[in-house]
């Protein structure tokens, strides 16, 4: 009986405390607050069909950038650079951003639950695929 009461108390505690936290965590990276993202893997592909892993620095990409959905931009304050976001959507638990600049198009997908991020930047003769993670600072 005592054991049953303890289990019941734990279940109630979980319902009251943990479940709401879990629900909040699911939307933690939905863009309601700015996200700080780090590209951990960058691959460069060229028109000849070859792709290679490169560093962010070698392709002139800042190590960190901020995704500001409300401000409609992805920017790096340190580098003084920003790209405008043209489209924002929420699809299948992902925050999806689209943009274009300087003859290039880009798309970024961030898991609203885990913060995992991937992005693709494409131009006429080369393209980059980024993988990384975002956090809500």
């Amino acid at each position: 009986m005592k054991r049953f009461l303890v289990l019941g108390a734990l279940a109630v505690a979980e319902t009251l405390c943990v479940a709401p936290l879990g629900a909040a965590a699911a939307g933690k990276y939905d863009g309601s607050t700015p996200l700080l993202c780090v590209p951990t893997v960058v691959a460069e592909c060229r028109v000849e069909g070859e792709c290679r892993r490169v560093t962010a620095e070698s392709v002139n990409l800042p190590q960190f950038f901020k995704v500001d959905v409300k401000g409609q931009k992805v920017n790096s304050e340190e580098a003084g650079r920003a790209s405008p976001v043209t489209t924002v959507d929420h699809v299948g638990g992902n925050l999806v951003l689209l943009g274009m600049e300087a003859g290039r198009g880009w798309t970024m997908t961030i898991s609203e639950e885990t913060g995992r991020m991937s992005a693709a930047v494409s131009s006429g003769s080369e393209g980059w695929v980024l993988f990384g993670a975002c956090t809500a600072p």
């Binding site: 060229r46 392709v59 990409l61 409609q72 790096s76 790209s83 043209t86 290039r104």
Partner: protein, 166 residues
């Protein structure tokens, strides 16, 4: 022989002595077909050396050719202007889509492109390849300079009554 002529001969001889190894390397054979004296021949060679350098723009005693240097590692391919201008234009487009073209343009122009300023990485082996092609271009330009100089030198010497063969 007047003092002026002596000076000219001395100048021609000096120029020839300095340039002789290069002239020899250029493989130009000269025969004094009008019976010119060796002194006259040296003088004419000195004169033709200066004229050929002037005409061809190539000095075999100081061989220098200009070929565009290979791009330095990490040079942006689009350039800052392209990024900023493109950023402004695309920012305006983005803003227009979002209903505020001015705001979008401001975002793009004020700070330059985050993704628009990305550039190609220098892949391994690529730098060596560029260096090799640069060296090949240098050698080719050098050979062209030599050839132009030789043609000019031959023309001059022929005009002064020598039979020239390359």
């Amino acid at each position: 022989m007047t003092e002026k002529q002596k000076c000219l001969v001395a100048f021609a001889l000096t120029a020839f002595i300095l340039c002789f190894p290069l002239m020899a390397a250029a493989q130009v054979f000269i025969y004094p077909s009008r019976g010119q004296s060796p002194q006259q021949e040296q003088f004419d060679k000195g004169q033709c050396y200066g004229w050929a350098v002037q005409q061809s723009g190539f000095d075999p005693a100081n061989p220098q050719v200009y070929t565009p240097p290979p791009p330095p590692a990490g040079a942006p391919q689009g350039g800052l202007f392209r990024g900023a201008a493109g950023g402004a234009a695309m920012g305006a487009v983005g803003g227009a889509i979002g209903g505020d073209a001015g705001k979008g343009a401001a975002i793009g122009a004020a700070v330059g492109g985050l993704f628009g300023l990305m550039r190609r990485a220098r892949w391994a082996g690529e730098q060596q390849q560029q260096q090799e092609s640069y060296q090949a271009a240098q050698q080719s330009a050098m050979a062209q300079g030599h050839a132009a100089y030789n043609r000019a030198f031959s023309t001059c010497m022929t005009g002064r009554g020598y039979t020239v063969s390359m």
